[in-house]
C-alpha cells in the first residue's frame, strides 16, 4: 500500500515536472537545430545538433550589444538599489522624525500603486527631459524601489541597536556606523534584494520598450520581442537568442536559490 502510494506520488510529481520544464527544453532543442531543419515536432531519434545559430548571433555584433545593454543596466540598477534602499531603509528604521514617517507612508503608497499608470506620463516626461532613448531612462527611475526599502527596513529593525550604540561610544562617525557597522550586518537582506532587482530588471520588457527606440540601446527582451516582427520567423535564431537571455538567469538561480526563494516569500516582485 505504502509502495503504491509512493510510486503514484512520484508519477504525479514527474508528470508535472515534465510539463513545467518541457517548454524551456524545447527552446534549447530548437536553438540547436540546423537552419532549415523541421522544427514542428520533437523527434527523439534526431540527435543532431549544431551551435551554429549561437555563433551566428555573436558574429553580427548586435547580440553582444544587447547583452551588454542588459548587463550594464542590470548591474547599475542593482548597485543603485543596494546602496539607496539601504540608506532609505536605515533612516526609516532608526530615526523617528515626522519626515521619516511620511517617507514610509510614500513607500507603502507606491508599493500599492499599479505601474501601468505611469506608462504614458513617464514617456512624455522622459521625452521632455531629453532622457528618452538614453541609458538614463532605463536606469534612473528604478535606482531605488519600495519593495526593496520595505525588505531592508524589516531586516534592520530586527538588528538590536546596541552595536551602533557601542560604535558611537567608541567615537565612530555616523557615516562610518552606517556603512561599516550596519551595512555589513545587512548583507543577507541585501543579497536577497540584489538578486530580486537584477532578475526583475533583466527580464523587464515594458518600460525598456516604451522608453527607447534605437536598436543600439535595446536590452535583450526588447530585442527579442522586436526581432520577431522583421521577417518570417527564424525560429532557430530566435530560440538561440532566447537561450542566451535565459542562461545567466539559470546560472544565478542555481547559485542563489536560497536568496531568491527568501525574496519571493518576503513579498511579491513588483513588475
Amino acid at each position: 500500500m505504502r509502495a503504491v502510494r509512493t510510486t503514484l506520488r512520484y508519477a504525479v510529481l514527474l508528470a508535472v515536472l515534465v510539463i513545467m520544464v518541457f517548454p524551456l527544453l524545447w527552446m534549447f532543442r530548437v536553438s540547436l537545430l540546423e537552419t532549415g531543419a523541421s522544427i514542428s515536432l520533437f523527434d527523439v531519434s534526431n540527435l543532431d545538433f549544431t551551435l551554429q545559430n549561437y555563433l551566428d548571433l555573436f558574429e553580427s555584433d548586435r547580440m553582444a550589444r544587447f547583452l551588454f545593454n542588459s548587463a550594464f543596466v542590470g548591474v547599475a540598477v542593482t548597485l543603485g538599489n543596494i546602496l539607496f534602499c539601504f540608506m532609505v531603509a536605515y533612516t526609516i528604521a532608526r530615526y523617528r522624525y515626522i519626515v521619516n514617517k511620511m517617507l514610509f507612508v510614500t513607500v507603502i503608497l507606491i508599493l500599492m500603486i499599479p505601474a501601468h499608470i505611469i506608462i504614458i506620463p513617464l514617456y512624455v516626461l522622459m521625452v521632455r527631459w531629453g532622457l528618452y532613448d538614453t541609458y538614463w531612462a532605463l536606469i534612473l527611475p528604478w535606482l531605488v524601489n519600495p519593495i526593496g526599502i520595505f525588505l531592508v527596513k524589516q531586516y534592520i529593525e530586527s538588528i538590536p541597536p546596541s552595536m551602533e550604540e557601542a560604535a558611537r561610544i567608541d567615537g565612530a562617525g555616523e557615516m562610518a556606523i552606517l556603512f561599516r557597522v550596519v551595512m555589513p550586518l545587512c548583507r543577507p537582506a541585501l543579497a536577497v534584494l540584489a538578486i530580486q532587482v537584477f532578475f526583475t530588471n533583466w527580464n523587464s520588457f515594458l518600460f525598456p520598450f516604451i522608453l527607447t527606440q534605437r536598436e543600439g540601446i535595446r536590452t535583450i527582451p526588447v530585442a527579442l520581442a522586436l526581432y520577431q516582427g522583421h521577417q518570417a520567423i527564424d525560429w532557430q535564431h530566435l530560440m538561440a537568442g532566447s537561450g542566451i537571455a535565459v542562461v545567466p538567469v539559470l546560472v544565478l538561480f542555481v547559485i542563489m536559490q536560497r536568496q531568491i526563494v527568501a525574496g519571493i516569500t518576503a513579498g511579491g516582485i513588483k513588475q
Binding site: 524551456l24 539607496f84 521619516n100 500599492m112 520588457f205 527582451p221 527579442l224 532566447s242 519571493i264
Partner: protein
C-alpha cells in the same frame, strides 16, 4: 540634534527624489492630461473635461479590451491559485528529490515573459507541439494555429499564464504552510480527525491570509497583462487588453496621450475597487478562534 535631523533627510533623499520625479509627478500629470486632448502632434492642448472618459465608454476597442481583461483576470486567477496550492501540498512533505521538483516547478517564474511568450508562440502555431498534442487528444485545432483564431487566442495566452505563474505562488503557499504549527495537526489526529478533515479545518482556514495576499497581488498583476499580448498577437484576434489599449492609443500612430491617460485611470480605479472588494470578502469570513 538639528544635524541629526538633516542627516535623516539626506539618507531619505534617493527615495524622495524617485518618488517625486518618477511617481508622484507622472501620476498627477497623467490625471491632468486625462482631462485634455493632448496628442504628440498637436502642440496645443485643450481642456475637454470628461470627454475622454465619455468617449472611452462608447469606444468599441476600449470596451473589448475591458472585456478581455476581465476574462483574463477571472479566468486565470482561480486556476492559478488552486493549482499553486495543490503543488504546494504535493511538495510540502519531506521526500527524496523534493528540491529538484520545487526548483523545476518554479523555473518558468524566473524566466523572462518575452522568452516564454516566444516559446509558446512556437508551441501554439500550426503544426506546433501543443497543436499536435491537442489533435492526438481529439481536440479540433484552429486552421492557422491557436493564436490565429478569435475563439482560442486569448484562452491560449491565459493557459500559458497559469502555467507560468503556478510555481511562483506555490512558493508563497509553501511559506504559509510552514507557518502552521505542527501541534495543531497532532492534536487533531489525537482527536480522530482524518487527513481530509485536517485539511479543511486546519490547513485551509490558516492559509486564508496567504491566499488573500496571493489573490490580491495576482489580480493587480493580471489586470495589467501586456507583454504576452504584445509578443504573441499584437492585440489581434480579440486579445487586446486594457494596458495594450493604453499602449496602442497612447504610444503608437496618433499618440493620444490624454485619451490613453484617461483609460489608465479607469483601469486604476477598477484595480483599486477589485483589491478592496477582495480584502472585504476575505476579512468578513475570518475564522474566529
Amino acid at each position: 540634534m538639528r544635524w541629526s535631523k538633516a542627516r535623516a533627510l539626506v539618507l531619505g533623499l534617493p527615495w524622495l527624489l524617485t518618488f517625486a520625479l518618477f511617481w508622484l509627478y507622472p501620476i498627477v500629470y497623467s490625471l491632468i492630461i486625462g482631462f485634455t486632448d493632448k496628442q504628440l502632434l498637436s502642440p496645443e492642448r485643450h481642456w475637454v473635461g470628461l470627454d475622454n472618459y465619455r468617449s472611452l465608454l462608447s469606444d468599441p476597442a476600449f470596451i473589448a479590451s475591458l472585456k478581455n481583461t476581465f476574462i483574463f483576470v477571472v479566468g486565470t486567477i482561480p486556476f492559478t491559485t488552486v493549482i499553486a496550492l495543490a503543488l504546494a501540498l504535493l511538495v510540502n512533505r519531506e521526500f527524496r528529490g523534493r528540491g529538484v521538483f520545487r526548483s523545476g516547478y518554479f523555473l518558468p517564474s524566473i524566466t523572462s515573459m518575452v522568452v516564454i511568450a516566444l516559446i509558446f508562440t512556437n508551441l501554439y502555431q500550426r503544426g506546433g507541439y501543443i497543436a499536435y498534442l491537442a489533435s492526438l487528444a481529439g481536440l479540433s485545432v484552429p486552421e492557422h494555429g491557436f493564436l490565429y483564431s478569435d475563439s482560442t487566442a486569448l484562452y491560449s495566452i491565459m493557459a500559458m499564464d497559469v502555467w507560468m505563474a503556478v510555481g511562483y505562488y506555490m512558493l508563497i503557499f509553501l511559506a504559509g504552510l510552514k507557518s502552521i504549527p505542527g501541534e495543531l495537526y497532532e492534536s487533531a489526529a489525537v482527536s480522530g480527525a482524518g487527513r481530509i478533515r485536517q485539511f479543511f479545518s486546519i490547513t485551509l482556514p490558516l492559509l486564508r491570509p496567504v491566499g488573500l495576499f496571493i489573490v490580491v497581488i495576482n489580480s493587480i498583476k493580471s489586470f495589467q497583462v501586456f507583454v504576452e499580448i504584445f509578443v504573441m498577437t499584437k492585440g489581434k484576434f480579440d486579445t487586446s487588453t486594457m494596458v495594450y489599449f493604453i499602449y496602442e492609443t497612447g504610444l503608437t500612430t496618433k499618440f493620444q496621450f490624454g485619451y490613453a491617460s484617461a483609460a489608465a485611470y479607469i483601469l486604476f480605479v477598477i484595480i483599486a475597487v477589485f483589491a478592496a472588494a477582495q480584502f472585504w470578502l476575505f476579512r468578513r469570513k475570518q475564522v474566529v478562534w
